[in-house]
Amino acid sequence: MSSDKVTLRFQNKAVICRAGTSVAAALWENGIRVLSHSPKYGRGRGVTCARGQCTACLMRIDGIPNVRACETAVCDGMTIERQDTGAFYGPVLQKTLATADSLFPVGFYYKWFTRPAALSRMFLQGIRPLTGVGRVPDAPAAVRSLPEAADPPARPAATEDLGSVDHIIVGGGPAGLEAALEADAPALVVDDHPSPGGQRAAALREACEHLGSRLQRYPTLAAADDRIRSLQEKFSERRDLRYIGHSRIVAGYRPNGLLLRHGSELASVEFAMLTWAAGAMDVLGLFPGNDTPGLIGPRALYRLLCRDGLRVDGKPVLVVGHGLDLWLSAALLSARGAHPALVVDGPGDQTEISAAVDEKWQLATGMKLASLRTIRADRISATLVPRRSAPGPINSHLELDADLVVVCGEGKPSFDVTYQIGVDYELVPQAGGFVPTRRTESGYRGTLPDGAPVAIVGEAAGTGPQVPSEGAPS
């Protein structure tokens, strides 16, 4: 066996995959999309956020439960199991559950099922043990240390001297780098990417190189790439700014504490000033079948393609949405030899639409995603319907099959940690979700309950992926 291949054991079967990728991507390339089954309905779930934020890819890896397959690097001899009812009770019961599910009407609400009382009791007794999501780890001797992260830190822990910092900037994307460059005192930038630039940097670079001279037809891509490159350059010139990659803030504690994970090691950090530039999460939308394995957002796509090298060549991929992420996803997929079919669901994007026609990408406008269903282990069927407000003649609905469906819209601002330490949030659906109250177009500036200054900038403030002056429509 050559050294660029490794063998995994998935559900007791050997699976051969490329070295240097994540467990989720390795299984994907072997046609295994279902990484877990959901707790109540036993629905198959696949990699969804690809950055350790959701539950869909929690697996039992080398005997340790609740390990994220999207964040774990493959290694030879690794044992991977699904940790759901299927793993507990075997495929027969799993099938029975799936059959039982089809007998319940859509909208069946189990808490309504109170009569007849005896039947209800039986039902609840049966259903409760099935909702477990894990088994305790194997006997301690059998448990190795935590599997290696998909993107392991290059140096050993750089967190020893952290204890307290003056100015911590969470997020090394354009908003975080801009905040660092504007700061007049030394600042520390932490991010989970190994180097500054954020979630889109690698994808933008590759997409722009692929488009070459055609790039001028995609002004949003060119502008975003220019902006990130110039910020990266300026950032690298500043000696007083420090960057720590492979780091994520996993909790916030009042008055001014953060729990930081660097690789697999935790460190507590106290800050005098906090700038939150942690970006946004993918929003997949509410429609029937919105948990279909193979449905992801653009941020997950960048991760899977740029970090894990997921192979998509020759595959049909449906990209639905609007704005920067739609065009970036399409260009990146095209660079990797996939066949993107684009559905533009929003207004605007006229320049890019005409360019996409020349690019020979399949294109539909004025449609939106209505439902998804799995038709084969590795194939999804999507139903698209006309947007109500679409001008022109009403198209009938459209059925498209794809390996992968990417939904690109406004991201959902990251808010959990800043909310935990006392920032007030309000729901503004147009901004993608919960955003800080009393924010302005350039973000939010305020003080925490104990007086520490906090700023929330960029996509985390709901100002969209573009430069702030273009985002935040009033």
């Binding site: 707790p39 959701c54 539950t55 935590l146 504490g257 090691e265 959990d416 729901l427 919960f434």
Partner: protein
């Protein structure tokens, strides 16, 4: 083949229909809906669903989205092992406890 369901909360498997039914039963606050349906109580602590749930509730009640109050989001934001937590030199948890009513 299972029915196409629309999932509001993927961690806890709460569908949009269930959320609406729970509202119909009289649960009209995000806090009580969270406790009753389980929406936002999974591993992701609502990162994936709370804004959708809140927007749906605002629609059901016919009120401005800004009037919906966010529920508590408990740390940690991702699964950690006891070993990782035990290895911390300086726990900062006491500070959080005082603040949590």
């Amino acid at each position: 083949m299972s029915h196409p369901k629309t999932f509001l909360c993927r961690c806890e498997d709460v569908t949009l229909e269930e959320f609406r039914e729970a509202y119909g039963e009289g649960f009209s606050e995000l806090e009580s809906l969270k406790r009753y349906t389980g929406v936002g109580t999974g591993f992701c602590q609502g990162k994936g669903c709370m804004s959708e749930a809140a927007a749906e509730l605002a629609r059901l009640r016919g009120i401005e989205p800004g009037q919906i109050r966010l529920t508590t989001i408990r740390p940690p934001a991702e699964p950690l092992t006891f070993g990782q937590l035990a290895a911390l030199d300086e726990p900062i948890f006491h500070a959080a406890q005082e603040e949590e009513e």
